[in-house]
């Protein structure tokens, strides 16, 4: 439902001239893009291309070297709070000594809870009902990723920043992620996901961002981002 009305509201996430360099080596070049409601953007790049760094900058964990980030039209500064986004990072952010439900209850306390969703129903939504009482330590890597996805699902936020959501997931896991992304986009949310796997988000061609506009003429991707055609 990519209704035009979604475009006059300020984009959920916008970056202007955003670049980051560590010890004088540029990690990702000047980026300009905007993310409107209902869009899923895939960020590709071989590992080490700065995908995780960009997500950490957008989440407000890292200060960019240049450029600005706007959440719902307001500039994001490190000090200002960023209540509109949920971050899924490699480690997942789960305490291994606690059970899956305890982790989700904590996340609900910290970020709040999406209407109509509870820790138990979020766990069911990622196909883990019945695993609520199992300590996270005993879950497999794929199951841990699903609990982390349940945490992101539970957060009442419009913007998802997912770092390698498909890692450690089996076939049904990948379909689960695609379903969640589609439902999230359908409900007016937006998502920025990083992956180096080709199978990512097969339903519809998501918009792609080149991390560094390669000087040799970005034939596949230039600054004018091709619109999301779903």
């Amino acid at each position: 439902m990519n209704d035009p009305a979604a475009h006059d509201r300020p984009p959920l996430l916008a970056a202007r001239g955003l670049s980051f360099s560590r010890n004088e080596e540029p990690i990702f070049g000047p980026l300009d893009f905007a993310l409107h409601a209902g869009e899923v953007v895939l960020m590709e790049g071989d590992n080490g291309a700065g995908k995780t760094t960009l997500l950490r900058v957008l989440a407000g964990l890292l200060a960019p070297s240049q450029g600005e980030i706007f959440l719902n039209g307001e500039p994001l500064t490190l000090a200002r709070l960023s209540p509109q986004l949920a971050l899924l990072s490699h480690q997942g952010g789960l305490k291994h000594d606690l059970t899956a439900l305890e982790n989700l209850r904590f996340a609900a306390g910290l970020h709040g809870q999406r209407r109509g969703l509870s820790p138990v129903s979020a766990l069911a939504a990622v196909g883990l009902d019945g695993f609520g009482e199992a300590p996270v330590r005993q879950l497999s890597a794929g199951q841990k990723k699903r609990v982390a996805l349940a945490r992101v699902l539970l957060a009442p936020v419009g913007l998802w920043l997912l770092d390698e959501p498909y890692a450690n997931l089996d076939r049904s896991g990948i379909e689960l992620v695609n379903r969640l992304l589609e439902r999230h986009a359908h409900e007016g949310g937006a998502a920025l996901i990083t992956s180096h796997g080709a199978y990512a988000y097969t339903s519809g061609t998501p918009r792609r961002i080149a991390l560094r506009p390669d000087p040799a003429g970005a034939e596949s991707q230039d600054d004018s981002i091709v619109e999301h055609t779903r």
Partner: protein, 250 residues
């Protein structure tokens, strides 16, 4: 941009600062050595013998300037650390980190000369005199800053973490001084004024001030040298450093 900020901005760019530092440093060094020589001559030869402490008091011509320098270096580091943290200016990070080892060296000399003076006066190498104790913990603060700076790989982040610790330390210094004084009165009663001749007359004063000036100029010479090394390390990828390396080799 008015001329002041233009000049300050210009100085801030590493290659310019490096060029200026390279020119200024030898002169600082020469001046410091000259002033130091005169000061020491004044203190060790011209100044009269103290009627109470005899010639032992001459150690103040080394001890006191170094004590002042230890504190001045920390203040210099704290100011640069504050600017570096707030405005993220590369030059101030480098200057803050450059002044830490120099300050530590001066504090170390203060402690050693203090104990060298305590031996003839009090018969023991170490006296838990309030000021010496504060100096000891100032030295530990310096080692903390230097240790933290070396422990982190990313140079910019290491400089900012160590700068933050330096600022925390600056808040802590007066508190340490106050608490050590209170502690001293608790355990030793009021101590006789240990350091310094019974009274300072003019012939003792001018060498002392001259030595203080010499150590300050020496401090800047050393900080400039270390800052140049720090800037080269930070800008290793840049071409002004590459050119510099080639010229240096030839």
């Amino acid at each position: 941009m008015n001329t002041l900020t233009y000049w300050f901005h210009k100085l801030g760019s590493p290659p310019t600062f490096h060029r200026i530092a390279t020119r200024v440093e030898p002169w600082c060094l020469a001046l410091a050595l000259a002033l130091g020589a005169i000061g020491l001559y004044g203190g060790f030869v011209l100044a009269p013998r103290d009627y109470q402490q005899g010639d032992a008091y001459r150690i103040i011509f080394v001890h006191v300037p170094c004590a002042w320098m230890g504190l001045f270096a920390y203040a210099f580091m704290a100011v640069n650390a504050f600017i570096a943290l707030v405005w993220r200016i590369k030059l101030n990070e480098v200057l803050a980190m450059a002044s830490a080892p120099v300050g530590a060296a001066f504090t170390f000399v203060t402690l050693v000369t203090g104990s060298l003076w305590g031996k003839p006066m009090w018969g023991t190498w170490w006296t838990w005199d309030a000021r010496l104790t504060s100096e000891l913990f100032l030295l530990f603060l310096y080692f903390g800053v230097i240790g933290l700076h070396n422990a982190i790989e990313d140079r910019r982040q290491a400089a900012r973490a160590a700068s933050f610790l330096a600022l925390v330390g600056v808040v802590n210094l007066p508190i340490v001084h106050f608490s050590v004084n209170w502690w001293n009165t608790l355990h030793q009663g009021s101590t006789v004024r240990l350091f310094g001749p019974s009274k300072i007359d003019a012939s003792m004063l001018w060498p002392l001030l001259l030595m203080a000036l010499a150590t300050h100029i020496w401090f800047f010479a050393s900080v400039l040298a270390r800052a140049r090394a720090g800037l080269i390390e930070l800008d290793a990828g840049k071409d002004w450093v590459r050119k510099l390396a080639q010229d240096d080799a030839s």
